[in-house]
Symmetry: C2
Subunit: 189 residues, 2 copies
DNA sequence: TATGACATGTAATCTGTTACATGATTAG
DNA sequence: CTAATCATGTAACAGATTACATGTCATA
């Protein structure tokens, strides 16, 4: 019951298309950088691009400049940019956390260039709020679960809690980083 | 290119079927506990159970005891138990880490009851090794990436590194826990 | 001119999601 | 008797994976 109609591969593509790219370029990003969580297979990317184009979020144009091979370069449309902005701006829900941090991080990674540092800070604050109540919920569930499971089960659950706490620490670190940057800009050099 | 033919829902079901359960019981586990990452929808679970039964890994039998409703209870077959053991015992690869910690934690959570505390310790040690080299790889990639991306991109990447380090800390904590338990059992009370 | 890398795509298949359908039992 | 809940499923569809197909260009 995710509130999204576009799967996260779609948003990853929209985000990367801030810089116009071909399908092949995008595949290389997925296979070479540590966005390997996304598939670099043509059978995933080309259909996804076709869907985005059909939805009017991107626009492909065949590039025939300097004796190159046929290469279709995709660009964000205004509609696509606005969809991307909405996705980033959306408040972080408990559901987002349950389902995984990956998509939240993707939103954050794109937030600064698609919108602004202020938007990044907003997203971090929203994440911080969601994390705090999520950690409380996990701790409560842990108390209930503790007597019912073997040591490995308890430890696995604790791993989840620790990971979430670690993410919360990171949001504080990230917010501090933005504050320092703001000060450096704001104060006379 | 995951080395698994059975999707992780299948293994989650096998693990839970250490205790014989109906499809409905299993759905309740997914919806009520924090295994919400798995779908609790009948359209996922019943077909998955049917596949496992077809593969000979579980066996369903209709329970007609005390005027109950029709209820099919599934049990692990010897083949299913052996498949489950193999899945847990498999060494942790870099691929497993890229794809997400979730499945590794599931393996660990089941390890103690399906196999033994010794198996849990083995899995932790395998995870530790994989994490160390993965963290090195991430750090290297970070150095390359750092000058090319905006602050939010750098921070998102750092979040990944920190999360992985946090997981490594947890493996040490978990190993220490098992050592203490071993001592308590081994030493005179 | 043949080989391999570039670039794009399609087809078969599998899994999961959503929504609906079925029947049995219990509570009011 | 009727409504709600238990328990099981199915059908239609979306998306990903794998493997294959196609054509272009560079180089040997």
């Amino acid at each position: 019951m995710r509130s999204t109609q576009i799967p996260s591969l779609g948003y990853a593509l929209l985000g990367l298309l801030q810089k116009p790219s071909s399908g092949y370029d995008l595949r290389k990003v997925f296979s070479s950088t540590s966005m390997k969580t996304f598939s670099d297979s043509p059978g995933a990317i080309y259909p996804a691009l076709a869907r985005l184009e059909k939805a009017g979020l991107i626009r492909g144009s065949i590039e025939e400049g300097s004796g190159l091979r046929r290469r279709q370069v995709f660009r964000l449309t205004p509609k696509g940019l606005s969809e991307l902005k909405q996705w980033i701006t959306r408040p972080v829900t408990q559901e987002d956390l349950v389902w995984g941090q990956q998509e939240i991080m993707l939103r954050f990674a794109f937030s600064e260039t698609v919108l602004s540092p202020a938007a990044s800070i907003n997203l971090l604050q929203s994440l911080e709020t969601a994390l705090k109540s999520y950690i409380d919920a996990l701790r409560e569930e842990f108390e209930v679960l503790k007597p019912m499971v073997p040591a490995s089960g308890r430890l696995a659950f604790e791993c989840g809690i620790r990971g979430t706490e670690c993410l919360l620490d990171w949001t504080h670190y990230a917010l501090a980083t933005y504050e320092n940057e703001g000060n450096r800009k704001g104060s006379p050099s």
